[in-house]
Point group: C2
Chain length 354, copies 2
DNA sequence: ATGAAAGCGCTAACAT
DNA sequence: ATGTTAGCGCTTTCAT
């Protein structure tokens, strides 16, 4: 007998009151088949007779049936949810990435659960507090695009068997995959650009000192300077923050001997640096001071700045991230990968033309 | 007897292999109590003896137990997930809002499932296709911050009994709550600013024609002009798009008689408009043309633009949204609310000083 | 191809 | 205060 425990009363009136979603059982009852038949109908590669399928589909439509992803998750242990952790969204690079990530994931039937980890000076404890939160949702994978993060985090995730991709940062953890651009090469390019244009007193505005991005960019930058027998003239940290970068710039330029060129660890700070130069110091960019940024966020192309910068290919980085994630999830095997996407110089108006 | 069906083998080795999360039952077994005792221990307002609680907590820690939010959701019918739908993240207003929304929600134990609905000319069909996706996850509430949306959508959500907040847009649906700023008043303010500064030939660059924001802003703007016996000199649509706005501006300024002031429906387009004016048309802002934007996104304060604009208080809007959502969710009652937050003029350098 | 039944991990009466 | 026992909605053997 198809005597369901659950009455169909609330499902039948699929209208306004709406409480009590219609379930598989409701559909099965209406179609006069078993719940498994209904389940199979909604499972891509299952064997269902055409007739049964039609019956089910019809009943489902009449009832306005919507599969419950939560119940499915409990059963299959696949949530089709990817946790994405970011620190803040002020720097347009991240919104851009999130947008692409979300689109690509959506196209594969996955969705993004967003975690913002923006407490200032977010340290290991911070991050560790977020972990239980994100793990509770049984996410199928995690993208860590947070500026800082606990090394424990990645380790722990892996121990739970969840694929993790470190986005735009590497960590002293061998267990997680990473996707970064070629920050070292980008730093070298920045140096070359400035050197070629006759810069003599070259400064560097760093990002967060602990971040791998700022470290790699600086290494590449310094190595290239050294190769040309040049030394860094000034260095100060902007901590990837707009306000701090502006203040830092003012500080440097209030000294007696000033830089005539600046490599700024990311575009977001570069805008602040240019503002400081032009407004606070009354200097001309690029005549008095040349500036090179990093990222090529949309605003770098805006008329108000026209920033020469090193482009990170966010599109390619997002694709790589999704590819790694899906491969790990679908194959079950988790060989940590390290993808490094190429960078390229985008010449605009904050550097002199040759 | 505490004879669990499930062996504890995989839970005990809580290390690397990590498959087979430890469950409530595992903890109960180790602690020598029932599963309900464990459940209660992890439920804020439950009655558990101190001793039992300690026992459970201890066992849980030893096993590295993490509650499974999915299972809890299935049982309680509360996912503590809020679906947030946005069209795109190019306009910094949205990242700013998402960040705040996410933080506030996180503080209340809720999380954001992000949906990007960025297919160009996203119409009703678009939006309707997203709905099943989002509903499947049994979200407790929905924030619709998408530029366009099907009126069916809001209606449907309500029919399912899910609280919906229309963010920064109103719709011809009475069932959903809305949170907007006072767009009409903002439009009036913009007109006043321009009028006070002697603008004679005033133009308007609109956003998406179907959006309530652009409509309300324009109405307020026009009403105020009328009140001063002034007429609109030019009008063209920028569809809230950077590139289109730039092109639209060029088009207007290639005509023989040019505007001497422009109200642009949002900041994002205003930046493009200023670029067009300065770069493509060789005009001075504000001397030749004054410009007023809308939103007060972070970049409006940047030195490269220093845009005079009408501020939408994203913080307050986010707070209102979360308040409405939580109230509906927690009380179960769903009286649609309409919150309108005040706007204010931010005077900067794209308008003349008086 | 289909159905019966046993879970997935947790919560919530209900009983004690 | 604690344990027992039904589910929550779906998937998945295992029979048939």
């Amino acid at each position: 007998m198809h005597c369901e425990l659950r009455t169909m009363t609330d499902s039948v009136k699929a209208g306004p009151p709406g409480i009590g979603q219609t379930t598989l059982a409701d559909v099965a009852a209406l179609a006069g088949v078993s719940t498994s038949a209904v389940s199979r109908t909604f499972t891509p590669g299952a064997s269902v007779a055409k007739k049964t399928r039609a019956l089910v589909l019809d009943a489902a439509k009449n009832l306005g049936y919507r599969p419950n992803a939560i119940a499915r998750t409990l059963s299959t242990r696949k949530s089709r949810i990817i946790g994405v952790v970011v620190s803040y969204l002020h720097n347009q690079f991240y919104p851009t990435v999130i947008e692409r990530l979300s689109q690509l994931l959506q196209a594969h039937g996955y969705h993004v659960l967003l975690f913002i980890n923006s407490d200032t000076s977010s340290s290991d404890e911070e991050m560790d507090a977020l972990l239980p939160d994100i793990l509770q949702y049984q996410v199928d994978g995690i993208v860590l695009a947070s500026t800082m993060m606990s090394s424990k985090l990645a380790t722990h995730c892996r121990s739970v068997g969840i694929p993790v991709v470190l986005f735009n940062r590497v960590a002293p953890v061998k267990e997680a995959s990473t996707v970064t651009s070629d920050n070292y090469e980008g730093g070298r390019l920045a140096a070359q650009i400035l050197l070629e244009r006759g810069a003599r007193r070259i400064g560097f505005i760093s990002g967060l000192e602990d971040s791998s991005t700022t470290q790699d960019r600086e290494r590449g930058f310094l190595d290239e300077l050294t190769r040309h027998h040049k030394r860094l003239f000034a260095r100060i940290s902007g901590e990837y923050d707009f306000t701090l970068a502006r203040a830092a710039t003012c500080e440097i330029f209030h000294r007696s001997k000033r830089p005539d060129a600046l490599f700024v660890a990311n575009d977001h700070m570069a805008f602040a640096v240019i503002d400081a130069l032009r407004i606070d110091c009354g200097l001309d960019v690029p005549k008095d001071v040349q500036v090179v940024g990093f990222d090529n966020v949309p605003q770098a192309a805006w008329g108000g700045y026209q920033l020469t910068t090193i482009e990170q290919d966010s599109e390619q980085m997002a694709r790589a991230t999704v590819a790694i994630l899906l491969k790990h999830i679908e194959s079950g095997i988790a060989v940590p990968q390290r993808v490094v996407t190429p960078v390229r110089a985008i010449m605009r108006a904050t550097t002199l033309s040759i």
